[in-house]
């Protein structure tokens, strides 16, 4: 009788323990916040505001999608947009406002100039900045508080010329038109030149391009006089369009022209319609990398009179999904008392990742830099970018 009593008590205790296991510390801590407010630093004013506004649209679309499917750990995500204005001092001020507001992490800033101004503060205060595209050369300086998910210039320059020459073997000498305001573009030309030299292709040199010239004809004549039969254009869309017109009018084959992604856009395509058939680039406004990207692109086109999304916008969609993954994987609560610790956990998660399924590509993140982002070669066919070749560095 006593034995049966003890057996009953022990069974009851056992059931009680099993029932209370979730309360015994083995359950995930729940978020204490009502919503996840993420400060988002984007340039919404200035000469490139159009790009910034497109990036903002993508972020808002992804936020709506995440919230429609239950939010992050059951709470909605809200982006607090701040205008960093492509000014390092303003970016620093926006970062300071984000930190003062007790943010877990920030999205942006998107450009190199803004990152250089604001990420020293982010590093000092220990907050992860999902800057996406702004720290190609400076990620190690701000480690482990930032991330770069673009195609590295080094990867791009190693792959582009070999792919291009592979399909256009009669390229013997290449000259470059370079908008020298951005150092990254000068470096890119230098990389292409070096890669070409390694393949035995001569260089016709760099032709410096300035904005606001009335006539680009003399520059094109200068380039043609070098003997180059192929041209790399690393300038803005408008200048690229003018250069292409001059080159084609003077007998250059469009298939011997390669346009860098920064100068490939709707303005270029519309201005060169009819003469751009065969031009190569590493960006396509119409190529469907994935169904997710195609969906975003077509949604943007519907609400923006048929315009496609800017090529770099995908990176910010990725940042939103990364934040969702980080918060859920690390069981972030948003508890102000644990702010420092949770910021660090987000950083630890995001700085090194394996197999992140982005909107356009799947890649690893190693010490804050994306690895395995393919470098494509597109050719304009019937005013659309068709994939010709692709290399994964």
């Amino acid at each position: 009788m006593r034995g049966r009593m003890y057996k009953t008590i022990y069974c009851a205790l056992g059931v009680l323990i099993i029932l209370t296991l979730p309360i015994n510390g083995l359950a995930q801590p729940k978020p204490v916040v009502k919503e996840w407010r993420i400060p988002t630093l984007i340039f919404l004013s200035g000469p490139f505001a159009g790009h910034g506004v497109a990036i903002k649209w993508v972020i808002e679309e992804v936020a709506a999608e995440i919230n429609a499917s239950g939010g992050i750990a059951g709470k909605p995500i809200v982006n607090d947009f701040m205008d960093s204005a492509m000014d390092p001092t303003k970016a620093a001020a926006c970062m300071s406002r984000a930190i003062d507001g007790g943010a877990l992490c920030v999205i942006g800033p998107p450009t190199e100039l803004e990152c250089k101004g604001s990420l020293p503060l982010a590093k000092q205060e220990g907050i992860f900045a999902f800057s996406a595209m702004g720290t190609e050369t400076t990620t190690p300086e701000f480690a482990p508080w930032t991330i770069y998910v673009g195609r590295g210039t080094a990867d791009r320059v190693k792959a582009t010329i070999p792919m291009w020459v592979g399909v256009e073997p009669d390229i013997k000498m290449v000259a470059g038109f370079v908008f020298t305001v951005f150092d990254a573009w000068i470096r890119e030309w230098q990389g292409h030149e070096k890669t070409a030299a390694g393949l035995g292709i001569k260089s016709g040199g760099k032709i410096d391009v300035s904005p606001g010239m009335v006539d680009y004809g003399p520059l094109v004549v200068k380039a043609l006089n070098t003997g180059a039969n192929a041209f790399i254009l690393i300038t803005t869309e408008e200048i690229n369009a003018k250069l292409v017109k001059e080159l084609v009018n003077r007998g250059s084959a469009p298939s011997h022209i390669w346009i860098q992604s920064g100068g490939m856009g709707t303005s270029f395509m519309s201005q060169t319609k009819g003469i751009n058939e065969g031009i190569y680039s590493n960006e396509s406004l119409t190529y469907e990398y994935t169904s997710r990207w195609a969906k975003l692109n077509s949604s943007y086109a519907k609400s923006h009179g048929g315009l496609p999304l800017v090529g770099t916008a995908y990176a910010f969609a990725d940042m939103m999904y990364m934040i969702k993954a980080a918060i859920e994987h690390e069981a972030i609560t948003g508890d102000p008392a644990k702010l420092k610790e949770e910021r660090k956990r987000i950083s630890d998660y995001a700085f090194n990742q394996k197999g992140f399924k982005g909107v356009k590509f799947t890649y690893d993140v190693v010490n804050g830099v994306a690895r395995g982002v393919p470098v494509p070669l597109f050719q304009i066919r019937e005013n659309k970018g068709a994939l010709v070749s692709e290399r994964v560095p």
Binding site: T89, K90, A92, S96, K116, P120, T137, T138
Partner: protein, 292 residues
Amino acid sequence: MTLFQFYFAEFSAIYILLAWAVYLTFRINQLYLGPLYSMCLGAYFGAYAALNWGWPFWLIFIGAVGLSLLFSLIPSFRFARLGAFAIVIATMALLFMVQTVIRNWEALGGARGLFNIPHIPRQIWLGVTYGFVLIIGFCVYRLDHSHIGRAMDAVHFDRDVAATLGIDVSRLSIQLQLFSSVIGGIAGVLYVFTLGSVFPDAFGFFLLMYVITIVVFGGMYTMWGIIIASPVLWGVGQFLPAGLVGFSVIVFNVLLIGVLLIRPSGMINRKSVRAITNGCKDLLQRFTDFHK
């Protein structure tokens, strides 16, 4: 004090200093952009000295001032004789030359720049910055109200007439250029320790247009308008409601055009300063009388 308040106060002060530097030579009809390349030199010197030599910031300031003076001295002899348009072109060219040299100099970080600048506690740094604003502001005030200030007015009115009155216009120009460059060098050191990084693209066309706008908006013939213009113009993008943030450039330009149409000499001109000064004296007199 919040982080944002710190950064707002710091950058407002730095832009005040730069604008005063440009204002000084503007008084003699020379838009001298030397403070900007001096700022670049001062910032890089500060960063390099802190990172590689471990210099304390007071020594860095002295070094930056010396470097700015050295770099500005020889060109100033030639620039002194230049007209308004020519000096803009010449100093802009020097600015871009300095930028290009730095971009191609790996020891200074090249196009990337220098980072991980040692952090100075914010309260101390704010005190240092506003200490400089007060000292330099006092110097500019004393200059404005001295025989040099009167000489500047005469040159502004007519350079040739001023020369016939015995004013050595070239010497005056050289002195003002050197003083402007010193202010620029100090602003550079303040900039680099506030931001924590330095890179060549920070000292480009946007910065020089911004500083000129502050001078034009604040008042081209008095130092006081700059003190208000700097935080107002810098704060336009920071204090707009979230929905209007994308219109900050429009707001900025509306303010500028509005001031130029309504008060072409700037928001605060000498008449306003006299009116405010007389008003304050009046108030003080009434207060004293009331308490008697």
